[in-house]
Symmetry: C2
Subunit: 122 residues, 2 copies
């Protein structure tokens, strides 16, 4: 069996855990479409997160250098705006390429499995 | 802004955390193509996992009812074979549908972002 000698094809080493986590994946996807950034409240609503959860996940993304957080004032009201950094955008595109591979592998496996189970030979 | 009134489009509630974890995603994808199951050693190699890690993740998948683990003997040698259950296959297909949505959203966001940054109006 030559397959077993090959490097692990289902290890998906490129799936960066910082981005792969479900809530952060939503945050990164939301920000990817907004080069001018998104306010904290909008981001919270788009991702269905609480204040505390969003803050925690933004901190992880900021520490990884994927997200930049600007704090300013609109009159007396504090405004927090979140952006993808260039590094964040690049890492997100790399991540996305692996995710597409996962979807292709999984779709192929599911199809192959159905045809293996079929009574008629393919 | 009507978008903010809509239910959270980037919450990805259907991304089952049991399947989404990177190592378990590899295990589920490996097993999805193998209706006759995969031996522990093959699964370990395909997913690039250690014995301990694979055992731990298989236990999580078994507890969720997604994987069945058969122990038997080939002569005196113990053989462990892992299968997706019907529930596991169904849940994996549901998961996969959401993952495809993520890939579409992310690709669309990345494209939109690039055209937003472009000098010429679209």
């Amino acid at each position: 069996m030559t397959k077993s000698e090959a490097p692990a094809p289902f290890a998906y080493d490129g799936l960066d855990r910082v981005i792969h986590e479900k809530a952060r994946l939503g945050v990164m996807t939301s920000l990817a479409g907004k080069p001018k950034g998104l306010g904290f409240a909008d981001l919270k609503r788009l991702c269905g997160l609480t204040d505390g959860n969003l803050s925690r996940h933004l901190q992880v993304l900021e520490e990884a250098g994927f997200v930049r957080i600007d704090k300013s004032f609109a009159g007396k009201r504090p405004v927090t705006t979140c952006f993808l950094t260039d590094k964040g955008r690049e890492s997100f595109l790399d991540y996305l390429a692996i995710l597409e591979q996962v979807v292709r592998d999984a779709a192929a496996a599911s199809k192959r499995s159905l045809s293996d189970l079929s009574v008629k030979p393919a």
